[in-house]
């Protein structure tokens, strides 16, 4: 399956590869309590079925922090970071956690990336927590995405701490 806006699908695949079990496999794709990708056991993608929580960033966010049972994660901070932040690391997060972004500050999540390493972003030279992401594809970008984001003044960033056991 190809997605025009691929960020959540990319992160969902990473979480799945990291051991996340599907939730409520096969039920209504719009259910906020489901998180799955069903390839129907075939290599063809035309009949694939996947939950909205798999492919839409704001739905993945609410699944993780609100609707998953048992709960799979929580907001790492009480309030979001501004898109202008120069903090090298987001508080209470570690490699493997996920970072959500609201570009226009309307409290609706628009984008998600995954925290993959600590080090130096090869493009910006910024050091700290690095994320990988799709659409736009970036490898080891500084977690704030500030050197790439012309909407940083309205952006809010929500780091999410994933539970290791649930």
């Amino acid at each position: 399956m190809t997605f025009s806006s691929d960020c959540a699908n990319f992160v969902s695949q990473a979480l799945r590869a990291g051991g996340w079990p599907f939730a409520n496999f096969g039920i209504d794709v719009t259910s906020p309590y489901a998180w799955y990708y069903d390839n129907k056991g075939t290599s063809s993608t035309s009949d694939d079925k996947y939950s909205h929580t798999w492919s839409v960033a704001k739905k993945l966010y609410t699944f993780i922090v609100l609707d998953s049972n048992p709960r799979r994660g929580k907001n790492a901070t009480t309030s979001p970071y501004p898109g202008t932040t120069s903090d090298p690391y987001p508080d209470n997060t570690t490699i493997g956690d996920v970072i959500f972004y609201d570009w226009n500050g309307d409290a609706e999540i628009d984008h998600v990336s995954i925290y993959v390493a600590n080090g130096t972003d090869p493009d910006s030279g910024y050091s700290g927590a690095l994320v990988d992401q799709h659409t736009s594809n970036r490898y080891h970008a500084i977690w704030s995405l500030s050197p790439y984001n012309r909407w940083r003044n309205t952006t809010k960033i929500y780091p999410v701490e994933l539970y290791t056991t649930y």
């Binding site: 932040t85 120069s86 909407w151």
Partner: protein
């Protein structure tokens, strides 16, 4: 016979002129509307940046609390001019008030603007418009590298989808989403 031909020609000419006039009348408001909508979207695109730049200057100048209050009040006014009351209310904190917290440790931004706006989709039905545009926006920072000062201009094309409603003859944005291109161009020059 000649009179008949003349009459026919005159009638045809009148029909053509009336048709052309009607066509121009039908097209002209759309172009005008498009221009008005483009202006509103461009204003929205740089609104928070303008407040941020003023907030940054406020701290540099160690200006008074009164100065801060004026910037916030003007920013709020600008916000309500561009967005509907409902959306402006939702965006107020993040677009206006928060710029003063962002500016404390944020980049030394000195400028922002729009290079171009390209309409991908525009439909107007009465007092409501739905629009998708590709907007090339830039922001300019003053940066320091190895002790030297530079001007860093970041520019790229973002997709904006918006719904606008006409209130008292003015277009205002009631829904607004941004998909930034996170692979921008940086033009860095010595200051």
């Amino acid at each position: 016979m000649l009179t008949k031909n003349k009459l026919f020609t005159i009638v045809v000419l009148i029909v053509l002129v009336v048709s052309a006039f009607t066509f121009i009348q039908a097209k002209a408001p759309n172009e005008e509307e498009k221009g008005d909508i483009a202006k509103v979207i461009k204003k929205a695109a740089v609104l928070a940046d303008e407040i941020y730049i003023q907030a940054k200057k406020h701290y540099k100048d160690r200006a008074s609390a009164e100065n801060k209050a004026t910037i916030i009040e003007n920013g709020k006014k600008a916000l309500y001019e561009v967005f509907t009351d409902e959306l402006a209310q939702r965006l107020y904190k993040s677009w206006v008030e928060d710029q003063f917290t962002n500016a404390v440790e944020g980049p030394d931004q000195i400028d922002s603007g729009v290079n171009s706006i390209e309409f991908k989709d525009l439909s107007i039905s009465g007092n409501e418009a739905h629009v998708t545009v590709v907007l090339e926006k830039y922001i300019t920072d003053r940066i320091t590298k190895e002790g030297k000062k530079y001007i860093d201009r970041m520019q790229g094309k973002d997709i904006i989808k918006a719904t606008l409603v006409k209130i008292d003859g003015k277009w205002k944005i009631s829904e607004f989403t941004v998909e930034p291109d996170l692979d921008p161009e940086h033009i860095i020059q010595p200051e």
